[in-house]
Symmetry: C2
Subunit: 351 residues, 2 copies
C-alpha cells in the first residue's frame, strides 16, 4: 500500500510485537456531530489489547452534517460518502484496505436512524468489512480508554449523559433525557437556570444578579422582558447552552446566584456518574476499586477559573477514591476507530 | 330592540337607579382561547360603578380558534366574524346596537397580533363602536372583580402568570415567561417535574416514586425509557401539562415526591402574587390593606383533596391578611364584556 504519511518510523508496541506496517489494512473512525462529520483513517493493529500511543493518524477529513433528521437523507448520505472517500485518498488507501468502520452518532433513542446509516456504510464497502454505528457516549468513552469499553463516560456539552460498562459488558446510563426531563447539569440546563434567575430578579421573585447585565449585554438586548421573545424566537438547545461562559464569568466575579447554579450543576453531573458506577458496581464491593471516568464536552473542559470539570471530579473522588478521571487526548473520531479495532480484535480472538 | 330573552324582569341596581332595558345597547365580550372562541352578548349598563349580579347574558356563541398563529389569518378572521354574528342573532340584536367589543387573547408578548385582530374587529362595526383587545390575564382579573381593574389575578393552567393593577392604573406582572424561563407553578412546570422525577428514579439519581406506575399507566407506556420518546414526539406544553391530575392523585395517596412538587408549585405561585402585590403596594404601607386576588385556571380550581388553589390562598393570606381570594363566577368572555363596560363608563365620565 502506498502511504504518503509513512516516514520509515512506524510505531512499535511496548512488548516488542511487530506493529502494523499498514499491511494489515486500515480502520476508519467517524464522528457524526451536530454540525459536521469527521473521518480519520488509522492503521489496523490486530492485537486489541495494546495500541501505540499516540495512535498514528494517516488522514483526517471533514464534511457537513450526516444526521438525516437535520439535513435530509440525500445530503446526509452524500456527506458520508464524501468524507470517507476523502480520508481514504489522503491516506493513500482505498476501500479494499479497510478492515472496519465505526461511526459515533448522537440520538441513541432512534435505533432506526442508526440502522439506516449502518446500511448506507455497508453499501459503500465489500461485504467482509465490519461496520459499527454506536452512540456518541460509547465512542467518547473509547476515546479516553484507548478503545476499551470499561468504566464510565460523562458528557456535558449542550446536553449531558453518563454512560458506563462493567468488565462483563453490562451497560448503564443516567441523564441524557433532554431538558424537559431534567438534565440540569447540561449546558442547556445551566443556561436555562441563568435566564430564569434574570427573569425572577426582574419581576421581583428572586434576588438581583450580575447575570442580568452580563447576559443582556452578550445578547444585545436592553431589558429582561426582551429575553422572553429571544428565548422563544428560536428555542434550539445549543443556542441557549451557549450562555454557559457568561454564567462562569459571573460566578468568577463573585455572583452568588451564578455560583449556586454551577455548584448545583456539578452536584447533578457527579450524581449521574455515581448512579452509573453504583448500578454497575464499578467501584467494587468496598467502594475503592479503580476504574476510569472519561470527561468530555465544553461544560467540563472549558479551562476557566471556576472549573466545572474539576468540581465534578472532586465530587466523584469523594464517593469513589479509585475513580481515575480522564480527559481524552484524542478526538471522538479516533475513539470510534479505537472502538472498531477493539471489536475486531475481540472477534479475532473468538474465531 | 327585539329581545327574545327579555322576560319583563329586567335587573335593578341596588341603589334604585334604572337598569338597562337593553335600549342602551349591548356589549360583546370575547374570549379567544387556544382551542375555541367564546362570544357573549350582555346589555350595556352605562353606570360603570355598579352592575347587576349576576350580569344577564343575552346570548353565548362558540366558534373555532381565532389565533392567527395557530389557524392562519383567513380562518381566524372567519371564526371571529361567525361567532360575533351568531351571538348577535341569538340575542336579537344587530351591529347597530353594539356599544363596545372586548376580546381577551393570550400572547401578550406579540402586540402586532393584537393590533391586527383589533383592526379586524373595527372593520366589522361602525366607527363609533369601541373595540378593545386585552391580554387574557387582564380579562381574567375583570371576570373576578366585575370589570374593575384593581388587585391581582393569578392564572395557573398550562402556563402561569400573576398580573395586577393598583388604583392609579399602574400594572405589574410576574411569571408568564414560559417553561424555559422557569414558570414552575404552571401545569407544564408541575408535570415536567413529575416526569423528571420518574426518569431520576429510573436511572438511580432519585428516590422511587408512585409517579412512575401512575404516569406510565396514564400514557400507556411500559418503561420510563419510553417517556423520552413520548416527551419529544410532541413537546406541546398543553400535552405535558395534562399530567397534573396524576401528580395530585399520587400526592393524595401519600407519595412524598409528588407532595413536594405540589408544595413547591404552591410556593412559587404564591411568590408570583407576592411580587406583584409588593411592587404595586396593593397591601398598603402596613401590609394589611384589602385587595382582591382572582384565581383562575385548572391548576387552581381542580377541586381535588390536595387543593393547590387552597394552598396558594393560605400562603397569600399569611403574607397579606387583607387579600381576598376570589374564584370568578363568570367565564372570561363575560369578564371581557365587563371590562368593556368599565372602559366605556370611564370614558363617559371624562367626556
Amino acid at each position: 500500500m502506498r502511504n504518503p504519511h509513512s516516514n520509515g518510523n512506524l510505531p512499535k508496541l511496548d512488548d516488542g510485537r511487530e506493529s502494523n506496517g499498514y499491511g494489515d489494512g486500515v480502520i476508519l473512525g467517524l464522528d457524526g456531530g451536530a454540525t459536521s462529520t469527521v473521518c480519520v483513517c488509522v492503521p489496523f493493529f490486530p492485537y486489541g489489547d495494546r495500541f501505540p500511543e499516540p495512535i498514528p493518524i494517516l488522514a483526517r477529513a471533514v464534511a457537513g452534517c450526516t444526521n438525516r433528521n437535520s439535513v435530509g437523507e440525500t445530503a446526509a448520505k452524500d456527506s458520508l460518502e464524501q468524507v470517507i472517500s476523502e480520508a481514504l485518498v489522503q491516506s493513500g488507501s482505498d476501500k479494499s484496505h479497510v478492515r472496519g468502520v465505526c461511526l459515533g452518532v448522537s440520538g441513541v433513542n432512534h435505533p432506526s436512524d442508526q440502522e439506516m446509516v449502518e446500511s448506507w456504510i455497508r453499501g459503500m464497502f465489500p461485504s467482509h468489512v465490519k461496520v459499527y454505528v454506536q452512540n456518541d457516549a460509547i465512542v467518547a468513552l473509547a476515546s479516553g480508554t484507548m478503545g476499551k469499553l470499561h468504566g464510565c463516560v460523562l458528557i456535558a456539552g449542550t446536553g449531558c449523559i453518563a454512560y458506563g460498562f462493567d468488565e462483563d459488558g453490562r451497560e448503564a446510563r443516567a441523564s441524557g433525557a433532554g431538558p424537559i426531563l431534567g438534565d440540569w447539569g447540561s449546558g442547556y440546563g445551566i443556561s436555562a437556570q441563568a435566564l430564569t434567575a434574570v427573569i425572577r430578579a426582574h419581576d421581583g421573585r428572586g434576588p438581583e444578579t450580575m447575570l442580568t447585565s452580563t447576559i443582556l449585554k452578550a445578547l444585545g438586548l436592553s431589558s429582561p422582558d426582551e429575553l422572553i421573545g429571544w428565548t422563544y424566537a428560536d428555542p434550539s438547545w445549543a443556542r441557549i447552552a451557549a450562555l454557559v461562559p457568561q454564567v462562569v464569568t459571573c460566578a468568577e466575579a463573585g455572583d452568588e446566584i451564578s455560583d449556586k447554579i454551577l455548584v448545583d450543576a456539578a452536584d447533578d453531573l457527579a450524581l449521574s456518574v455515581k448512579a452509573v458506577v453504583q448500578r454497575l458496581g464499578l467501584c467494587g464491593k468496598d467502594g475503592t476499586a479503580s476504574f476510569p471516568v472519561v470527561m468530555v464536552g465544553g461544560v467540563l473542559n472549558a479551562n476557566m477559573k471556576w472549573d466545572i470539570g474539576k468540581e465534578v471530579s472532586k465530587r466523584i473522588n469523594k464517593h469513589f477514591p479509585g475513580a481515575q478521571t480522564i480527559i481524552p487526548k484524542v478526538e471522538p473520531a479516533v475513539g470510534a476507530a479505537l472502538l472498531a479495532m477493539n471489536f475486531l480484535a475481540v472477534k479475532n480472538d473468538v474465531s
